[in-house]
């Protein structure tokens, strides 16, 4: 468990935050540029000094009032926006720099970091002999090799082009699945947030406007992210079967079964699905003569207006929450009300990770 309550003044800007994050999984700090995301992350590492506040990570208290533990005495791994490798050391030297100094780091962690990020072939290279993506991978491995209690990442993909991003993302996915320490990930990219986050902290102009599990946060109508064209819902599912004839794949989630295009993922692998609110339409009766494969019985939970001609509907498919964006006219024709039973037809599903 991470408990954070910090206040930092920088010129005209004030960061005043209070939130909790779970002890495991990825917490994404999401917000537009200039909202204080990086300052918050730096404060967690102790690189910015908070005059007053409280910060506890696991069992260690890093700040309590005026008591401030300096950065080098905090068990953090920090990945900066640019890889920031030490140019006077080669890849091995960079990795060993922290590992040699951290008491808690052992050889195992170094090996694990090397394997997780595929660093072994790069070990003897100088930093100039690395591509942008490789540099960032070394930076991540360097942070992990100290065996930290928490890993902090500040937009690690933002300095990379699309191709390099795609090269790094699978590594971030494996961190997500393999790490048993909390990862705090700062980003302004909705794609990265929905792909990686288990927990979301929404930051706006230096304060936290909402914090909670990602699926709840995305469908909370009091937050801006549940509105507009970007409104989406996330569903965790497991691969349960393949249909070779039609090249399809079956995915079970707690509300039923999805049929999607086969990506040749092994059985039992966990996937995250993203469903855009615009791709979910509603019907009163179960349609049988339709091209849509994914249809689920759902209960209307709440309806809010979305502009002048549309409404945003929050649905419950058993315990899974999903958003649907339809016209106000359709809502009236269907006589939608909270508690009403409908069928959600899902036109398309994006497979994340």
């Amino acid at each position: 468990m991470i408990e954070c309550q910090l206040k930092i003044k920088q010129g005209g800007f004030t960061l005043d935050v209070e939130f909790c994050a779970p002890a495991k999984g990825v917490t994404v700090v999401f917000g537009s540029s200039g909202c204080g995301k990086t300052t918050l992350l730096r404060a967690l590492a102790g690189l910015e000094k908070s005059d007053d506040g409280f910060l506890k990570v696991g069992d260690s208290i890093w700040q309590d009032g005026k008591n401030f533990i300096p950065p080098h005495m905090r068990s953090v791994g920090y990945v900066f926006q640019e890889a920031s490798l030490f140019d006077h050391l080669n890849v091995r030297g960079n990795l060993e720099y922290g590992a040699r100094r951290a008491k808690e780091a052992g050889k195992d962690f170094m090996g694990r970091a090397l394997d997780l990020l595929d660093i072994r072939p790069l070990l003897e290279r100088t930093t100039e002999q690395l591509s942008g993506g490789e540099r960032q991978r070394v930076a991540i491995a360097r942070a992990l090799a100290v065996n930290p209690d928490i890993l902090l990442m500040d937009e690690p993909l933002s300095a990379l082009d699309l191709k390099r991003k795609k090269e790094i993302l699978p590594y971030l996915d494996s961190l997500h699945h393999e790490l048993d320490i909390p990862l705090i990930y700062v980003t302004h990219s909705p794609d990265e947030a929905s792909r990686l986050a288990d927990h979301l902290v929404l930051l706006e102009e230096g304060s936290v406007v909402g914090s909670g599990a990602i699926d709840e946060m995305l469908t909370r109508f009091d937050l801006p992210i549940s509105h507009g064209g970007d409104a989406t819902s996330l569903i965790e599912a497991t691969v349960v079967g393949h249909d070779d004839r039609f090249n399809l794949m079956y995915l079970n989630f707690s509300g039923g079964q999805f049929t999607v295009t086969d990506r040749e993922l092994p059985l039992e692998s966990k996937v995250r699905l993203r469903v855009s609110a615009r791709d979910v339409s509603l019907t009163q009766e179960l349609q049988t003569d339709t091209s849509i494969l994914n249809i689920f019985s759902a209960i209307v939970d709440e309806i809010v207006p979305e502009g002048r001609s549309q409404v945003m509907v929050r649905l419950k498919i058993k315990d899974v929450t999903m958003l649907s964006c339809i016209t106000r006219k359709s809502a009236e024709l269907l006589k939608l009300n909270p508690g009403k039973q409908v069928y959600a037809q899902i036109k398309s599903v994006a497979l994340l990770s």
Partner: protein, 229 residues
């Protein structure tokens, strides 16, 4: 050829430059580091004071040093009242004068090198468990390597080449405080052009070789980096 006093002058010069460079690096490194890191508003005043020897006639500096360090000056008087001797017209006096006179040649390259590193590598090192002192020696010093070489060579060469300050504070005592640059002047005054040639030519060659060393090193340094790209 060189006479006995010329040989002594050569040794005094090299010893003076060596000792001064060592002291300059020991004093200049923390000073340059502090200047490169501080956000203190009045730091420009300190920077201007350190840079003064660049523009001041050496005789002005030497004059004030003589006044301060001489037996009737505040520092010299204090030393005498403590049972010591005034350091004017001694080797120690030469060292004090040289250190002050060559300070900007050491502090400025170091400060530039330290500033060029930026805060980021130091912050990264902090998150990798390095204490402030550890970060300084393991990150700042190696990254500022070319700054140290430039500072050492310029400090040494500039001390070898000084004239006015050592003349004022050292008093040109052959065998004690007479350095090469003054020995050359004396030979020219006495119309001993042959000996002046030997000394002047030697100094010219020495200075040229030292500067070559700086350029070769900095070039190899930058070549080493561009090779790998």
């Amino acid at each position: 050829m060189l006479n006995e006093f010329d040989i002594t002058a050569l040794f005094i010069t090299l010893k003076l430059a060596g000792v001064s460079t060592l002291i300059l690096l020991l004093l200049g490194t923390p000073l340059a580091w502090w200047l490169s890191q501080t956000r203190w508003k009045l730091k420009t005043i300190l920077e201007a004071i350190i840079a003064l020897p660049l523009v001041l006639p050496p005789t002005v500096l030497g004059f004030y040093l003589l006044i301060t360090l001489g037996p009737n000056g505040p520092v010299g008087g204090m030393l005498e009242s403590l049972g010591g001797a005034s350091i004017a017209f001694t080797f120690t006096g030469l060292v004090v004068g040289s250190v002050i006179y060559s300070m900007p040649f050491v502090v400025q390259p170091l400060q530039n090198a330290f500033s060029g590193i930026g805060r980021r590598p130091m912050e990264v090192a902090a998150t990798l468990r390095a204490s402030p002192l550890d970060r300084f020696f393991s990150i700042a010093v190696p990254l500022a390597r070319s700054g140290f070489i430039t500072a050492a060579v310029l400090g040494f060469a500039h001390t070898v080449g000084e004239f006015g300050v050592v003349l004022m504070i050292g008093g040109n005592i052959p065998g004690e405080t007479q350095v090469l640059s003054i020995a050359i002047y004396d030979h020219v005054e006495a119309l001993e052009y042959g000996q002046a040639h030997w000394l002047a030519g030697g100094l010219l060659l020495l200075s040229f070789l030292m500067l070559m060393m700086v350029y070769i090193f900095n070039r190899r340094f930058s070549l080493m980096q561009s090779d790998n790209q």
